[in-house]
Symmetry: C2
Subunit: 357 residues, 2 copies
């Protein structure tokens, strides 16, 4: 394990995106989007995936010079064709369209097809904050999750992010997979050789399991709730809504046909759409009420929840986004620790592109 | 227990709303909205609550002749003041504004203050379906739910409904509380004198409990997920988003200040807003892609999920909205069974207003 400064990792990442042919602006944006995951503590979605993106490019599943374009629109909506670009640049382009439409008619809603993995949903949703807007971002992903009662994997972890500005308080930023636990948490337990809690995974026959390696044995992750008795049908509904907004509205692939991230996996057969789908929303605060009033009440909301009486053993109630912001501050100051396998992976990339980490 | 035809219950309910002073149109709409819960099998939110609405009116917490008005708007948004009206009529009025805005600019988004309980969220979301639109409805509610790590009740069950049209298939209609289990399910267990499963409730100190009567002992319901290990912070985030969209955007009450449904409970002190808040959305399908294309792919989505291989012991994967539609069909044909306490309650109402059940 070694420590790297954000700036060092940013320069390296940007350079790799330049090497595969991205424009200066795209490489800059893609590096920023990707590393926002490392900064916010979502290590599974950050620079650890850089070589995966490069392999997708080599497999010609990612286009480094996409012509991202609006193919359908109304004053408050658009559908964007990502031209197989990196989701890391298609996402921000689409979110910008949502923001522009919100400036013009109050809200903007953009569904995207023909894209790829966009990093963490929170990065895109948070783009709305400096505009005094609420930002929403979601994406589908390749199927690892079984709907309630099924033994088949039909949904991705399909995350939802919602970023809401406040006044003196820091913004409210929710960013969560619609499963009981994100895949990254399973990977942590795999490394520690520990069991998963009940309700995280099931085996290939749909039976409850605590084996953290079930995904490698044709098992599945479970929707938020875990089982029917604990509301897994609600997690299944949420994941489905993300899939439909991201792909049925846009013309992307959905359900079991969403392309996988690892380039060594074959593409699904008989794909009904193009690429991966995302969905973005932006709502101008002052399209509802004066922004100053909103900010005052949002501050009051946050303060009330922060000061809630806690159950024994817990220090205080967390406002969504707080832990990630603390990690970001700490890592910006003290650098980002990377695990040896990740460093090795980056060094191989460096060798491949004749640059250094 | 006795059986009543929908028409009989509808006439009775409409008459009661007329008796408290609602207009013909409002009484008709309120009865339709309220009884949609009984038809869809959500017995806790239907006619069983009629006397509760009447008590709210007697306590002057409900205004039977509200002047519902738009107080702020942009082409795609509005804030509506419900003038303390029945949520059962304020909700549809607001949803209609969302639909009208979607006709004009692609989508419409309406936040509502100064309203009351609106019945089931699904009723409002489904109003969008005949317009070839996706409908979204959510509401906050009086605090019964403790955020993750807290022993205080700060959120309501804050449901979310999303209705999505299909082609030959029936529409996708998700309608769920953002808690592990809806309060109605606790009431069923109370009647049967059974324990609650783990993860549904906690006691007044925030300790896990299986006592179905915890809510009467200052305990709390738990957010979807149940505990941190099973993602309760995600249920807490969802409930919070519903609260903020419904109340901070509109100027309604939020968190622990949302007014209670039972009229015998005192109103919260130092309320920061007016009444209960709702949030509605309507998105025109053809604001994204030709409706015919959307319908074809939505049918394909539904068929794929319907035909998913099941885990042992389960017949098939359920599409959100299917069970409720089957109950509605059956009850429209064969009538609605009411429990004796509900019938007694309605007979008392009948006596009070000199009419008959």
């Amino acid at each position: 394990m070694s420590n790297f400064s954000y700036q060092q990792l940013f320069s390296f990442t940007k350079n790799i995106f330049l090497q595969i042919g991205s424009s200066e602006a795209h490489a800059d944006l893609a590096a920023k989007a990707l590393l926002s995951a490392d900064l916010r503590g979502v290590d599974s979605h950050g620079i650890a995936r850089l070589s995966g993106y490069v392999r997708l490019w080599k497999a010609e599943r990612v286009n480094a010079t996409p012509a991202i374009k609006i193919i359908h629109e109304t004053p408050s909506t658009a559908v964007i064709d990502g031209d197989r670009g990196l989701g890391l640049v298609v996402g921000p382009a689409a979110m910008q369209v949502a923001i522009d439409k919100a400036i013009s008619v109050g809200t903007g809603w953009v569904s995207v097809k023909n894209s790829n993995h966009f990093g963490i949903a929170g990065f895109h949703a948070m783009m709305a904050l400096p505009h005094d807007m609420i930002g929403i971002a979601m994406t589908n992903a390749s199927a690892t999750v079984a709907p309630t009662f099924s033994k088949e994997r039909l949904l991705g972890t399909n995350p939802i992010a919602v970023a809401i500005p406040a006044g003196n308080e820091q913004p409210f930023v929710a960013d969560f997979a619609t499963t009981t636990a994100a895949n990254g948490k399973l990977e942590v337990l795999q490394r520690k050789n520990m069991d998963a809690p009940h309700g995280w995974v099931q085996d290939k026959d749909g039976k409850p399991s605590t084996d953290v390696n079930e995904l490698k044995k044709s098992g599945a992750m479970l929707p938020l709730g875990g089982d029917k008795e604990h509301g897994s049908h609600k997690g299944y509904m949420l994941g489905s809504i993300v899939d439909i907004f991201s792909a049925i509205l846009s013309g992307a692939n959905y359900g079991p046909w969403v392309p996988p991230f690892p380039a060594y996996l074959p593409m699904p057969l008989n794909m009904p759409g193009e690429g991966i789908g995302h969905f973005f929303g932006a709502m101008r605060i002052d399209a509802f009420r004066p922004a100053e009033e909103f900010r005052q009440h949002m501050d009051a909301w946050i303060q009330r929840f922060k000061s809630a009486a806690t159950a024994e053993g817990f220090e205080r109630v967390i406002i969504p986004g707080e832990p990630e912001r603390e990690i970001e501050k700490e890592r910006m100051q003290n650098g980002i620790e990377l695990l040896d396998p990740v460093i090795n992976d980056l060094q191989q990339l460096a060798a491949q592109f004749n640059c250094s980490l």
